[in-house]
Amino acid sequence: MSVEAVTAQRFRPGQTVHVIERPALGHCRTPWYLRGKTGVVASVQGAYRDPERLAYHKPGLPSQVLYKVRFLQTELWPDYPGPASDHLEADIYEGWLESAS
């Protein structure tokens, strides 16, 4: 872990974002169940060394801005048994997000 100041960020809190749907061929922190899903940026968590490079003994640069993204459970699971107001949050690196608009 190496938290750094965020110098440039593509997304702002409140913005709707889409998690990119693609396979991961190596180490990756975007769970399969969130790929292709749409959520809202809840907060910006800072910039961190990129685990997809750190995992291969590289310095993890450039650093990646990390976002807390909030998803409606009903968006993630079509048969979600609980109330429509339930949410799930996960921390997603910028390279896995795209603007939903």
């Binding site: 769970p31 459970q73 048994p81 921390d91």
Partner: protein, 232 residues
Amino acid sequence: MTHDDHDHDHDHDHDHDHHHGGDGHTHPPQRDHDAGPMSAYEVLEETIRSLLIDKGVLSADEIAAQIDLMDSRTPALGAKVVAKAWSDPAFKAKLMADTRGALLDMGIDIGTLAEFRTIENTPDVHNVVVCTLCSCYPKLLLGVPPAWYKSLAYRSRVVVDPRAVLAEFGVAVPEGVEVRVHDSTADLRYLVLPMRPPGTEGWSPDKLASLVTRDAMIGTAIPDPGLRAAAE
């Protein structure tokens, strides 16, 4: 070849005052010298440790000190943090804004491997934490996670059916209260700040801390003064 005799750090194999989640009693420690044959992994650990010590990468003292450090991080420490947040609004504000700094103010250093965040239960939101990809957990505060937290069964299911999982743990979340699952996928570790139970006005921080179980700080339990009263 010299082997630093493994009896060297056997003083770390004593019982500690474990402070577990739901049930509050202790469990037998798993000895490395029980009746069965040594497993290949156990011998592999000894092998790796002796090679690293011989090569000067690690020392036996460093390993012993790290074990002592981890043994000092227990849910009881987390409970103290929660009780302080319940009792001291300025501390709570700092804990929410800067968990690392607030813990450091209490003399708790969370190291360099992860950042911490505190998430607060409210009358409207009940939080529960998981790591679906691995077993990320605020270890430098709460100690090692319970086996169930690391299990495929918990990791897979709490994200898709949290209310049923919570019900199995004895937590019934009313329909009108949002359940918010936190999948700690990256560099952040999450500590749940439970709600202070009603009827605890005027309680000392120590008495409050006695209500706060490990599971309450994961989100799979609710502090219950009734259980404490029943035990008294």
